[in-house]
Symmetry: C3
Subunit: 273 residues, 3 copies
């Protein structure tokens, strides 16, 4: 039940350590608060182990990767692994530069990740060990559509099995798999792509959902994806004439803030494959 | 009169140098503009002395502390001390990591600070020289409530006297003391805790208030605390059905932008102890 | 026709590489999305060449300059020059510190810039090779007004000719020149100065306009300036009682998001000198 996943976050108020990019960090913090968690940001190598030890989950995002913070990602990740905390990787721009691709691949091989969430181009890059992503958005030729869905589900399942963690591919259709089953999710709005950082926000929320639902991680990851999608729909329904992407950004976080378990349960549109 | 403190900021338009975290920096800049000041951000060691020399006050915030910016905090602080500018320290997460605790304590011992503003757990950490803060929020066991108020007032007065600067503890009840008297302030809304960075914003505003009111620093610090609290109340009164923490964030800064001295005077709820 | 410039951005969706400050970076990303482009941020020396190679334009902003990112600015700039991409420099705070002034001057001398956009004090600093800017806002004594306009137009034309690139000075009256002609633009609202980063946003938008309009760069730069000014007017017209600078920030980005070529054409107020 997605409802219980949501309510567990609001009840446990998990503290989430974020090593994230400086573009969308404020929205990530506010959306973690909105969903019921509590964010703390730290990427200094000498700070991260203390911080992650206090937390219930770790969210690693390479959106503005600096060489100086890579070591901190590994240190925090190893500490989180020791403590059994969920670790989520958001491989922003994997495939767009060698540094991003290599760092994401190393994080995947050296840490025990709970989930990797990215767009299809980033995830394909990681699965293939190389890539040619066009920036931070998915390449149109990679897009998951109804006509490519079967292949995409098979790909995500296989990669999740090989990687040994949950793989979440988000886009027009979202796929979340642990290698055995795959949630196919049809929530959200295309206009969410005109806001910077809805993906980063989802990765933060997913970390909170995983931290608060240790016994049902696949379901929790899928619930987080549905929750952001439903929030995107609710936020859109409140848009007025003249509103644009800046207001929409706020409306989505507002919708996360106000969402109840029942609303999530009712709004979630998914099937299992 | 808090009214005069507010009006002095709008008249002097103090330029405030902020060495702050990348999570809430944009809101800090906008709230300083909203209150009548002018913000400039710089944390590069080789840049900070030039920048602080142009300014009227310095706001140091360790929310995303990097080893590379610590030296800049000291350099800027020493320069601000030479120039007689007010220096405010926001010890975000003191107690949550050794690096944060040690850095905050060193800043307190090596610089002449005008004010330290934090939550009760951070301030207790600094007073005791060590701590076990749970992240960036105050620990519930530390909370200043009506039943613990007498002890908390005594603690803040003593620490302010020992530290030789204004201590501002913010939470459900705010305490601002110079060691002699203590403002006990009951403005604000609990929902402000669901927005990232209202504390960081207050530290920025407090620096502007201190810079524009050199002859009444305790009153100016208390006025800044009341002003943010009243803005939280005004902002809340403008919330509509479906609004959440993202919109509330904007409403508070908007309320700071529009606040008059008379509104502050009328809305401020405080007593002196 | 400014209309075509705007429509070319929406049609080409240029990917813009931003090496920018952490204060206003989120708004820069959202406004680039709003105008029809796509932003990517990267300032790590080992990342920037890969990223800029994927993009159509490069926006360099020194608002929170770090020594560690200066080399990245040069590397990205040289790569963009090799590829023939437009490069825009936003010399935030040039004149306020030696590091900022020197870095901006070095970028101008070593890179082939398409445009430099700043306030009049920053631009005068660059023209004179030194300066005494008061922070990140223009000094009042420098302001471009109707009474100083002739001199200012002559100054901007001369500097554009000497620098070999477009110079855009923004303020109450905006000037955009390639050394031959000068657009004198009277769009915008004074309240835009109460929002942090409207200048940074414009530099990002200008880069997108230059990237999508390679055959008419002066016109594209002027169109970007008018577009932001018209958005400031449209956004202001939607302000309600109690709204302030936080809401205004969102309204402006919303207005960029919704602006059509016809609205820009109709709203643009400029003359050529």
């Amino acid at each position: 039940m997605f409802k219980e996943c949501l309510e567990n976050v609001r009840r446990c108020m998990p503290l989430i350590h974020n090593i994230t990019n400086y573009v969308t960090v404020n929205d990530v913090a506010n959306v973690i608060l909105a969903c019921g968690g509590s964010p703390i940001m730290s990427d200094e190598t000498e700070d991260v182990e203390d911080i992650t030890s206090l937390c219930g989950g770790l969210n690693i995002n390479i959106g503005t990767l600096h060489k100086t913070s890579i070591e901190g990602m590994f240190r925090a990740g190893r500490r989180a692994n020791e403590l059994g905390h969920p670790v989520v990787l958001d491989p922003v721009g994997a495939g767009a530069s060698a540094l991003r691709t290599d760092t994401a691949l190393s994080l995947m091989s050296e840490l025990r990740l709970s989930a990797v969430r990215g767009n299809i181009s980033e995830i394909r890059t990681l699965a293939e060990g190389r890539g040619n992503t066009k920036g931070v958005d998915a390449d149109i030729s990679d897009a998951v559509t109804e006509s490519t869905l079967d292949e995409a589900v098979a790909f995500v399942k296989t990669f999740a099995r090989n990687a040994g963690c949950i793989i979440a591919v988000t886009g027009a259709i979202d796929l979340v798999s642990d290698g055995t089953v795959c949630y196919v999710i049809r929530n959200g709005r295309p206009e969410m792509g005109k806001i910077t950082g809805t993906g980063c926000q989802l990765s933060g929320v997913m970390t909170a959902y995983l931290a608060a639902n240790p016994d049902r991680r696949l379901e929790a990851a899928a619930a987080a994806v549905c929750m952001m999608g439903v929030a995107g729909e609710t936020g859109w329904s409140r848009m007025r004439n003249g509103d644009g992407n800046a207001t929409y950004r706020n409306r989505i976080i507002d919708a996360v803030y106000n969402m109840t378990g029942d609303e999530l349960e009712k709004g979630a549109k998914y099937e299992l494959r």
